[in-house]
Amino acid sequence: MKQRYFSTFQLIMLALFSALVVVAKIALRTPLQLSGHSGIFWMAIVVVAARVVPKPGAASVIGVTSGLLASFLGLGDFGFLNTFLSYGMLGIVADLVLWLLGGNAENLVVAILVGIFGHVAKFVVKWSFGLVTGAPLGFVALGLLRAIIGYIVFGAIGGLLGWLTLKALRRAGFFAYLAEKR
C-alpha cells in the first residue's frame, strides 16, 4: 500500500493550526496601530506548526487551508483572491525558507528568518495586487518603507515567539510524546 505523505494525525494537526491562524486573526487584538502587527501571533503559529509536523509542505498546507477559511469568512479589506493568495503565499514561502535553511525550526535564527520571509511574502502579495490593479501611489511617500519595516519586525517577533513556544513544548516533553506516538 502506498504510504501517504502526511499521516491522518498530522493532517488533523495542520487543520487545527490552520483554524488557529484564522481564529487568532479574528480574536486576538493588539493595541498596535502598525502595519503587519498580526505577524506576531501568525508567524509564531506557522513556526510551531512547521516543527510539530516536520515535513516540507506543512507550512504550505496551513497557508492554503487558512487562506481558504479566511476567504470564505470574508476576512481582509481587499477581497477573496487577495486574502487567499496572501495567506497561501505566506505558508509556501515559510516552507521554502525553512527547507533552504535546513528545516530546523528549533534554531532561533532559522525561526526568525522563517517568520520574516513568510510575513514579507504576505506583504509582497498585497503590494503586487495594488500594482496589478493600478492602485494609487501611497499617500505618504515613506508609508511603504514603514509598512515593510513593520512586516519584517513583526515577522521576526513572530518567529521568536514560535521558537520560544517550541522550546517550552520540548521542555514539557511534547516532542517525546509525539515520537512515542509514531
Binding site: 520571509f117 514579507v120 494609487p136 501611497g138 505618504v140 518603507l145 509598512a147
Partner: protein
C-alpha cells in the same frame, strides 16, 4: 553549503526583495511626478468642487489635522486617521457646504465610490475618516450604519468630489 552561508544568502535575498519593492515604488513616483501637474503631486488626492479642481490633499496637510479613531463593529479593529470633514474644510469654506451638499469619495482602481451628504460627513459621531492602509493609500471608513463594513468602505481613494445641490 554551511548554515551561516545559507543565512547570509537569505538575508541578501530579503534585502533584494525590499529593494525591488522600494525601487518600483520610486520609479512609479518619478514617472507620476513627470506627468502630474504641479498642484497634484504623486499620491495626493485631488478635490473637485462642482467639477472644478480646487486643490490636492497632500501629506503636508496632515500636520494641520487632528487624528480620530474608532473601533469598527465588523472586525473590532481600530480605524485611525483624519476626518474627511477636516480635510474638506482645509480647502472649502464651511459656508459653502450645506447640509445636503453631496460629497463623493472614489477609487478608480477599485471602481468603488461612496456619496454622503455634508451633514453625514460633518457629524463627528459618524466618524467618516481616512484610515491609512498598510500600502500607504487612504481608505474611507465610517460608523454610519449603511456604510460601516469593509465591502462598503472605499479603499485606495484617489478622488474627492463636492457637488452643491
Amino acid at each position: 553549503m554551511n548554515q551561516n552561508k545559507r543565512i547570509v544568502i537569505a538575508v541578501v535575498i530579503l534585502v533584494v526583495i525590499v529593494g525591488a519593492v522600494l525601487g518600483v515604488d520610486f520609479i512609479q513616483r518619478q514617472q507620476a511626478a513627470s506627468v502630474a501637474p504641479e498642484d497634484m503631486p504623486p499620491g495626493s488626492i485631488p478635490i473637485f468642487v462642482d467639477g472644478k479642481f480646487v486643490a490636492s490633499f497632500v501629506p503636508d496637510d496632515l500636520s494641520q489635522l487632528e487624528g480620530a479613531s474608532f473601533v469598527d463593529a465588523e472586525e473590532g479593529k481600530t480605524q485611525e486617521g483624519w476626518l474627511l470633514r477636516d480635510v474638506l474644510l482645509l480647502y472649502v469654506k464651511e459656508s459653502k457646504l450645506k447640509a445636503d451638499t453631496q460629497v463623493t469619495v472614489s477609487s478608480s482602481s477599485r471602481e468603488k465610490s461612496q456619496t454622503l451628504t455634508w451633514a453625514e460627513v460633518d457629524a463627528q459621531e459618524n466618524m467618516v475618516l481616512f484610515d491609512l492602509s498598510g500600502r500607504g493609500t487612504l481608505k474611507l471608513v465610517s460608523k454610519i450604519p449603511s456604510f460601516d463594513t469593509r465591502d462598503d468602505w472605499v479603499q485606495d481613494v484617489d478622488k474627492i468630489e463636492v457637488v452643491q445641490p
